[in-house]
Amino acid sequence: MMPRRKRRLASRIRDYVRGLLAFLFSNVGVIVLVVAYTIAGAFMFQAIEGGSEMALDKQMSRARTNISQYLWHNVTLALNLFNETEVKERISSELVHYQSTIVSAVHKGWDGGRSSRQWSFSSAFLYSLTVITTIGYGHLSPKTDWGKIITILYALLGMPLFLLYLTNVGELLARWFKCIYALACLCRGCPGFTKRRVARLRPQYELSEAESIERPPAWRGSSDVTPEDPPPRGYDRRVEYYRSMSAPQRAASPAPRAARRGLSVPARRSASLSSDFSYVTFDAQAITVPISVCVTIMVGYIMFGSMIFGMWEKWDQLDGSYFCFISLSSIGFGDFVPGERVYTARIETSFIVCSLYLMLGMALVAMCFNLMQEQVMHYFAGLQRAARRVARCRR
């Protein structure tokens, strides 16, 4: 009795530990980890960089005082004051000089004294987010030596973390999205329902199978040459199978193109005819979502973002979508940055929504990549089959 109970306890502890680890390295844990890492980075950069901008600000105000002194001494006092054009020319040339000073100062990160503090918490948060997501807007960049060193280390540690987040959340979103897609577009989300439905449809299918014109010739041809080259994986075959099977109900389905794929029949067709269809499992995860849907989602997300940002920042539609695209593709030029124009009380919300938008958007992009990759591989397999068929026909 004793050893068994003890082992059970040990296994239970092991399960707990495993569960904890799995939690930490999956969805929620990773999200929490990323957010915590970003917040920590925000505090760190704020502490490091906060001091340096004051120095630059002082330096700029000193430069301004210098030039007005210079104007006083060298222009107003030295020149003939009744010659307007000459004075203006002189002042203009001085201003050109001053202007280049301003340009170089702004490129060094000076903000024109418009906002009291550039490295506020929200902007530091956005900065660390742009580092780990590799967007890198560059409207804020570290000026101190320590800031640069810490940025390098922070990026080296943060990027794998964010990659982990992307793969995890992308996978999760892909799974959910497939379920939703199956539910909404194919009307056969839950496994039990589909099973029943197909059970109902089966007799029809078997009847219509003989005169099915939907079936491509590859299928007929390949069934007798399969022994020499077994199919690479289940799915190419599965689709063909399903294509012929779904023919009777196509009229009812809202998206006829999408309805072609969706059910999984893992076994061969020959087996399917002999056995009593009991092996048929319907899994929402075996669905491949068409590329057009993924693209639509991305475009919709970008449009949504452009609407939000356009409302806040007074950008037009093109600029808004340009900003969203550049951000989500992690290019990040930094010519448009949220919160740059609006120095009002709203800046906090704008930053938070922006960071949420970015994190979710990155995950959505990862999701779409996941789905599209599946679909492309699927196409590619079909293509391979077609090529093989062509080669065989010509023989």
Partner: protein, 358 residues
């Protein structure tokens, strides 16, 4: 689209050729030709082919962006000039209207005017004013760097499109360029990883030959698959960054920290754009092209190296995790075995005792 057509093409050509020569050699030659085509396509879609594709795409993009952006009207330059003239005008007004013998008052007023001017200039800079005209900015080298920074997703942001068409083209260019770049990344990573692995294994075996010579007969069948350790990858990358540091530091007169910072930020694809080699290159027209080409190659090769390290480290980590898991499993099994044995022993002992007592 390309890879959709090519296999078909290849097989089609193969069959055409085979019909010509079928009377003599038959399927043998046909197979050979098919093989040739397959190899050619495989070549086109690997190493050199993808590299050439990326370079061509970059050059094409550079020419396109140059064409689009060079004609953009210089509204901002005009705007800034107007601002400056206004400022001079107001300064003149101050000089005329005010008492000229009170220095502090004059300086104060001038300071105010200058502050307004400064704010205006800052706003102009934030909307993209650079102090240079579009034709200066969009030189060919700079445009090349721009297209590179778009499709590698670095996005330095020192040069940005200002026209509407420039923006639209950038989006389209990125849409097509990023998959090409990813293809390059994967291919280059695989190839470099393979060659580096081969190098490493060769070196490894050379160095270990003397030690394991006597037990070679026993070692051979249970020889473990060698994976390149992560540290080796890190050494390679840090060496590459060091090279870049010294190179850019010498060219651009940056100090070593800035130079390292630039290299890391570039290779990580963050690309803040506070340090960009192109900025200086665009200024000097003379020997800039060689520098630019080397710069371009540095970034592209660096991306390949990063991909290689990513590949190798993934493998290494996977192997390590598997080993760790096996170790843990063995350990746990050991413990459970020990516990059961111990318990059984005590049980047996107790039984024995009780039997003895009886």
């Amino acid at each position: 689209m390309m890879d959709r057509h090519n296999p078909l093409n290849a097989s089609f050509h193969g069959s055409m050729r085979s019909r010509d020569s079928s009377s003599t050699v038959g399927s043998d030659a046909r197979e050979k030709i098919k093989d040739c085509f397959r190899k050619f396509i495989a070549f086109m879609f690997t190493q050199v082919g993808v590299g050439a594709l990326v370079v061509c795409y970059a050059i094409l993009g550079a020419a396109g962006f140059m064409h689009i952006e060079k004609d953009s009207p210089d509204e901002q330059l005009e705007e800034v000039r107007r601002l400056r003239l206004n400022c001079a005008e107001s300064l003149w007004n101050i000089t005329i209207t005010d008492n000229l013998f009170n220095e502090t008052a004059w300086v104060l007023k001038v300071n105010e005017v200058l502050k307004v001017f400064q704010n205006n200039i800052t706003a102009a800079i934030h909307t993209g004013y650079n102090g240079r005209s579009a034709e200066d900015i969009w030189s060919f080298p700079a445009a090349l760097m721009y297209s590179l920074s778009v499709f590698t997703m670095i996005g330095y942001g020192n040069i940005i499109p200002k026209t509407v068409w420039g923006k639209i083209t950038t989006i389209a260019y990125a849409c097509f360029g990023i998959p090409i770049y990813v293809l390059y990344f994967c291919n280059m990573g695989k190839v470099l990883a393979q060659s580096f692995k081969w190098l490493y294994i060769t070196a490894h075996e050379c160095s270990r030959r003397d030690d394991t010579l006597f037990e070679d007969g026993e070692m051979q069948p249970v020889k473990k698959k060698i994976t390149v350790p992560s540290t080796a990858c890190l050494w390679v990358i840090s060496f590459y960054i060091l090279t870049g540091t010294i190179m850019f530091g010498a060219w651009e007169k940056w100090n070593y920290l800035d130079s390292t910072y630039f290299c890391v930020i570039s290779l990580c694809k963050i690309g803040f754009g506070d340090f960009v080699p192109g900025a200086n290159i665009a200024d000097s027209a003379g020997g800039s092209h060689l520098k630019l080409v080397i710069n371009f190659i540095y970034v592209l090769l660096g991306m390949g190296l990063v991909a290689m390290c990513y590949n190798l480290m993934c493998e290494d980590v996977r192997v390590k995790v598997r080993e760790l898991r096996e170790d843990l499993k063995n350990c746990l099994d050991d413990i459970t075995l020990k516990i059961t044995v111990c318990m059984n022993d005590t049980k047996y002992y107790h039984q024995k005792n009780s039997r003895n007592v009886k």
